[in-house]
């Protein structure tokens, strides 16, 4: 049997990729439960591993104003996932929840609740932020040192896992005759004692069906990769090309041994977009159309303004790139999204060279730079490519990011999934009930290290 592909569906989100000018898009499309339900049911019909939701903590701003040219606004991640638990039966339910602006006690309790209610389908994408812009919506403000982001994530995940482990595996007796709900001394007290997470709690929930909900991680820096190797079950990566993917895959999987883990214990799942057509030419035609819907004039201008870090409203996006240089020293004009740009002057030089070589306007340049789609072609071509990436260890599968809400996955499930199934590299039926089973992850053992920190019940503390 060939290596099995893992596929997930990303609910189209707050970025230029989501096409909102399609006639099917209505004001309520990004928030109506029917949208989430449709994507979830479609993903489940296609036997995908999980649905993925991103998170918002503050509306994005550019030049001191709300960004208004992309999709804006979304519901609360955890709450939507819990609602989806009731209308799906097998699909994993994954979401980003920030570990900086949430308390570990609450995070652990929410994901334990989701895992109980979904009978073992919860997954948490752990991210951190440290900026004052996001912090201004929360009690502690921008309290976290940038350098502590990964330490915060590590301590929060370790605290959550200790809380998930605090009840003994056989704690619930539910013995009506004897009148024993939880067995004596089976609900432990967790003391974390960390520098960033110092709490003491006896959690309200027994171990959930998965033991530990699945942990996803998305950081790409060296520290991010190390954290993934240490604590994550899957990585939401962004390495799209075959060679980059293979390098990332080898690097991260190579780090697992030092934590006593095997390569199959961590799945690498890059985000991937797709455009299908009956013929290669039709797919290319649709690609061009979608790119122009995604990179509308305001989007192109905002994108170049981000790199230039200055107001470019005087420039025609159908004309050439600005002759002036990016402002490097000034504070960023963009708030609420991570900067793509490490060295603006060098990137501007590359863009100028590219646009001169190909004779590209600002908008055409932006399409060239950000409008690429991972897989473009006939369903057969896309299926072949996905399988080739997975079989050649550029990934373990993909998190598919449709460009339309909520019908953007329909065609993939109808036309590409059956071809992957024919190849024998994607399931035709779910063979398990939990997300860990779908992902081929080992059962979550109750951590030995945690047990040492878990005390027996103490009357004084539960009075």
């Amino acid at each position: 049997m060939p290596k099995q592909i893992h596929l997930a569906a990303h609910f189209p989100g707050v970025n230029h990729h989501t096409v909102w000018t399609d006639p099917s898009h209505r004001p309520e499309t990004q928030t109506a439960f029917a949208s989430f339900e449709h994507l979830a049911r479609t993903a489940e019909r296609g036997k995908l591993d999980f649905l993925f939701l991103a998170e918002g903590l503050r509306l994005r701003e550019q030049r001191g104003q709300l960004v208004d040219h992309d999709v804006v606004g979304r519901p609360d991640t955890y709450t939507v996932l819990a609602a989806l638990a009731g209308v799906t039966t097998h699909l994993g339910l994954a979401g980003t929840i920030n570990a900086t602006f949430n308390e570990p006690y609450e995070l652990a309790r929410q994901f334990a609740t989701l895992d109980h209610l979904s009978a073992g389908r919860a997954a948490w994408n752990v991210v951190t932020s440290s900026d004052a812009f996001h912090g201004a919506n929360f009690r502690r403000g921008g309290y976290l040192d940038h350098a502590d982001r990964y330490e915060r994530a590590r301590e929060v995940v370790e605290a959550a896992r200790a809380l998930w482990d605090a009840w003994a595996p056989d704690a619930i007796a539910a013995d009506a005759a004897a009148g024993v709900y939880a067995r004596d001394r089976s609900i432990g007290l967790v003391r974390t004692g960390g520098r960033l997470v110092d709490i003491e709690a006896r959690p309200t929930l027994p171990r959930s069906p998965q033991g530990h909900p699945v942990i996803l991680q998305a950081g790409d820096s060296d520290a991010g990769r190390e954290l993934a190797a240490q604590v994550a079950d899957a990585v939401f990566s962004r390495h799209g090309s075959l060679e980059d993917g293979q390098a990332f895959y080898a690097d991260v999987k190579g780090r697992l041994a030092r934590y006593g883990r095997s390569p199959e214990d961590l799945k690498i799942l890059p985000g991937a977009s797709f455009v299908l057509g009956d013929t290669p030419a039709e797919a290319e035609e649709r690609l061009r159309e979608i790119q122009h819907q995604q990179v509308r004039p305001a989007v192109a201008r905002a994108f170049v303004e981000q790199l230039w870090n200055r107001d470019l409203s005087e420039y025609d996006v159908d004309g050439p790139l600005p002759e002036i240089d990016p402002l490097v020293e000034a504070p960023s004009i963009t708030q609420g999204r991570a900067s793509f740009f490490k060295d603006p002057l060098a990137i501007a030089a590359t863009w100028r060279a590219l646009s001169e070589e190909k004779g590209l306007s600002i908008r055409e340049l932006v399409i060239e730079v950000v409008g690429r789609q991972s897989f473009v072609g006939t369903p057969q071509h896309v299926a072949d490519e996905i399988d080739r990436y997975v079989q050649s260890d550029a990934s373990d599968g993909f998190i598919l990011v449709p460009h339309l809400t909520p019908h953007g996955l329909d065609e993939f499930v109808d036309r590409v999934v059956p071809l992957l199934q024919e190849r024998g590299s994607f399931r035709t039926e779910y063979t398990g009930t939990t997300l860990r089973e779908h992902l081929g992850l080992p059962a979550a053992d109750r951590f030995g290290s945690t047990l040492d920190d878990v005390d027996a019940p103490d009357e004084a503390l539960t009075a």
Partner: protein, 393 residues
Amino acid sequence: MSESRPFHLAVELGGAGRHPAAWRLPDADAAGLLTAAHWAELVRRSERAGAAFVVLADSVAPPSAAADTVQARLDATGVAALLGPLTSRIGIVPVVPVTYAEPFHVAKAVATVDLVSQGRAGWQVDVAAPAGTGAGDVQAAQFHGRSAVGSAAQWREAADVIEVVRRLWDSWEDDAIVLDAATDRYIDRDRVHDVAFTGTTFSVAGASITPRSPQGQPLVVVRGDVPYALGVAVAGADVIRIAARDVKEASALAARVRAAVAGSGRPARSVKVLLDVETLLGRDEAAARERLAELDRLAGRPYEPSGVHVVAGAERAADALADVVDLTGVDGLVLQPLAHAGDLAVLAEEVSPRLREQGRLADLPAKAGPEAPRTLRDAFGLDRPLSRYTLAR
């Protein structure tokens, strides 16, 4: 007070019921208390019983040390969200304690329950155990860097939380999403507002990330009978819950709450007062007595009501509930079943049909056809308010 006006029923659910031994009854589904199917069934029964809403009890308390009680407890907001798509008429009101919560997260979570239930969400505001009690320190220790404060300070902060949550719910005007391709604008940024709230213990700068929900303002429920809470309830609640030892005390308390509402300048009709009533229901008197005897036998001690209660067969229970309303002048009752499964079955099949027949139950008619679903605010005759930012234009 009119003697035969219809009143509202609500149901509060927690554990397996109010009685500590409730989980030990044969129909209690003791092994399934943490499953989606269990909660869906209970709330569907409540919906059939014509309840305007269910309150899903929650707190930041650790599990009880008493092993003969249900020690596990799901997060109420998660359960509320689960129930949204699985029900069609009943309101869903999780208790969300605010003392250690992020107001920003509370606002978008309740707004999202409103989205997934198409306008049937509420929020019962609560606080943690106060300083000076062992429980207060235990609860604070669950949160990094926090220590317990007194009840007065907790409720002062809760008032700020209600204010900022209500602002966040209004921060997107109803028509903020314009989808104007000609000008490349998804939103009209003049219709999305930073709340810019600075309180004593926290501040929130921006707008919500969640557009305005179906009700605009989900129903806010606050207890009016705990120290320091009444003022907060009067200022910010749509529904005020009270509990009392007997109908006489309930009547006095209800009058006091209404006087406080009148004194605040809010229209009397804009605030509903609901009284807690513990119930143990049987199909007939003998069945009710037998169930209570069984609960007492299991618990090893007789049930002691914590206040107004109705332990009765269906026929007498319907009359007793109506009498409680008539004698106290409240707008409705929050039933607290001693044992969920049995009580809700009798309520749905025997008690509510009698109340309906007598024209006493203010429930929503079951609807056919594609008509827009009724909201929880509708159930209480409360208008859907415009955003304060729209009104300020």
